[in-house]
Symmetry: C2
Subunit: 348 residues, 2 copies
């Protein structure tokens, strides 16, 4: 896309319908904003011909905005998926308002985290330099995930085959090139287990005196993982479009059964041809099992399948689809009813 095309997209952005009170062309007054890190540890390396050097790894970068009336609501922590960054939640590929700003305009404190090993959180690149220097083997290099256009089209369910969209496709496929720019190398394979992002999400929830954790795709089950490490700050779990773990232990299910859980899926789960065709039917199945397990343990878990609500054509990128604010309203309503239902006073 060239500059003129980009400007065109910015120019038309104001034409999209946005629900009342949240128009992107209305001024936005915020109480505070900023960024900080959660977690991180020191690793000592021994580069050739130098004294030992310390580097910091496994830190998680968090960028936040607090709205004026934010104290009325539980903060929402948004964590992106594979091969993406927090850009996921911002301005959509076709220039509309993202969920980060929409939630903010709906008085929710919003905290966006770049996963540990991605984007502004950085990652531990030591092994790359060691292989180059000959002190480690090429086989020790991480598997770096780079999502191609072709993979994104299939896995993100823009259409049955590359370049062809579903008739009712909600993803703005004409701006797919702008989505492809969001896709960056995924170094999660260099991370220790358990993934430090899980621990950091749990710690962030505690630091915020309670938070709703939202994950998507690769990070879709991260809120559950965080809550199983430390549920004390996790007031709600929103898991969007992912596979679920179905062999949790009773004490793990028990922890999760004390937290409201929403699992969301879009449309055309069985509509993709080729090697990714079974991904989404299988993911839905695992999540149906997981949701049942939590409910059977007395928990409040909901499997929200958008087509069953009469909402059709949604891709994997719910937060960027043309009806993204309608879907945001579904989530906000779920939060109001399930997380904040009995909570009307200040959270702090």
């Amino acid at each position: 896309m060239n500059c003129q095309q980009s400007l065109f997209i910015w120019g038309v952005a104001g034409l999209f319908t946005v629900s009342a009170g949240a128009q992107s062309d209305k001024p936005l007054t915020i109480k505070s904003q900023g960024s900080f890190f959660v977690g991180g540890e020191t690793r000592t390396t021994n580069p050739p011909n130098q004294p030992p050097q310390d580097v910091t790894v496994n830190q998680m970068y968090v960028q936040y905005q607090e709205p004026m009336n934010g104290a009325r609501h539980v903060p929402v922590v948004m964590v992106h998926g594979c091969c993406l960054s927090s850009k996921t939640w911002e301005t959509t590929p076709d220039g509309r308002m993202g969920w980060n700003e929409y939630f903010l305009r709906k008085d929710r404190p919003v905290y966006m985290a770049d996963q540990v090993s991605r984007a502004r959180s950085g990652f531990d690149a030591t092994i790359i330099n060691e292989v180059k220097a000959g002190t480690a083997k090429p086989s020790q290099l991480p598997n770096v995930l780079m999502a191609s256009h072709q993979t994104a089209w299939a896995v993100f369910r823009f259409g049955p085959e590359f370049g062809k969209a579903f008739d009712d496709e909600q993803f703005p496929v004409k701006a797919a090139d702008e989505l492809y720019k969001q896709m960056i190398p995924d170094f999660n394979s260099v991370l220790p287990m358990p993934n430090p992002t899980w621990k950091d999400m749990a710690a962030l929830a505690v630091q915020l005196h309670g938070a709703i954790l939202m994950g998507h795709s690769e990070s879709g089950f991260f809120p559950e993982e965080a809550a199983m490490i430390d549920p004390s700050g996790v007031k709600g779990i929103i898991s969007i479009e992912m596979g679920c773990t179905t062999n949790l232990k009773p004490d793990q299910i028990s922890k999760l059964s004390k937290i409201p859980v929403l699992v969301m899926f879009g449309d055309h789960l069985d509509g993709v041809k080729g090697r990714f065709g079974s991904v989404w039917p299988e993911n839905l199945k695992t999540c149906a099992t997981f949701v049942k397990q939590v409910k059977d343990a007395g928990g409040n878990a909901e499997l929200m399948e958008l087509p069953k609500l009469g909402i059709h054509g949604n891709s994997h990128m719910l937060m960027q689809d043309k009806n993204n604010l309608q879907l945001a309203d579904l989530i906000l309503n779920w939060i109001d009813q399930n997380v904040e239902g009995k909570k009307v006073s200040a959270r702090r």
Copy 2:
């Protein structure tokens, strides 16, 4: 942007004292915010056992906020240095307001760009997977720069030797661990030349109908490089703490002599012991030569050495030092006088 509205707001804005609005505990009203990409191109790769795959590389991620009275001022584009991201300009390591918010509260539209190949801009990781797969040699791996705590302490001039601060050090060294979390792998060595960030910065300035480009350290001379590629959108250049190129051709100097240039340096340039001891005296020297060349060609270039203004103890990280807002005021005053001196009407 709604020009009528902007002009109206411009008229009212004069009633308020700007400095009062710059306190971090006061609400902040913004006209718009969001993010987008500049540049980017498609690269086709041939992974084993798969059809050819297209990935997007060399795109530059930009995050922006437009203040209510922004139309009065030329936007400022901030680009971070080596092994860092746009976090550079945000909340300081000890939790104070960063330049991004301060400039915004001073009515400047602020655009923060993650350099191409860093953070949310991503990078081309193809070679890593090729070396792992055995289709490329380890020697083809990039030199990945990872700044260690020891290197940062010396190069960022926190003190004469690791762990010891200068008596009048302005960097908040007690929060150095928080700075170390900002340091992430630098893959600039995988980039083609000329560096796509230069072209993208120039293109962004055009897209904004004029912008001031600000670079720091590794990117300190990027504004000049951008302007030499396309000066048409570059209304001012702010180069902070870097080495300057001294062998530019007359036509390049001529281009730069038509744009106001500010070059800033902090304190203790000759105070660091060890292998980095000569870095800053040498950098100052090259920039003194460069500034003289621009001035000799009739340009408006200023070499601002803070100690000569009676401001002492500043590190390499001027935007994070304890007196960072005092230094921001110096820059804002320079912009007012040198870039916007004859400009009183709306910019769009």
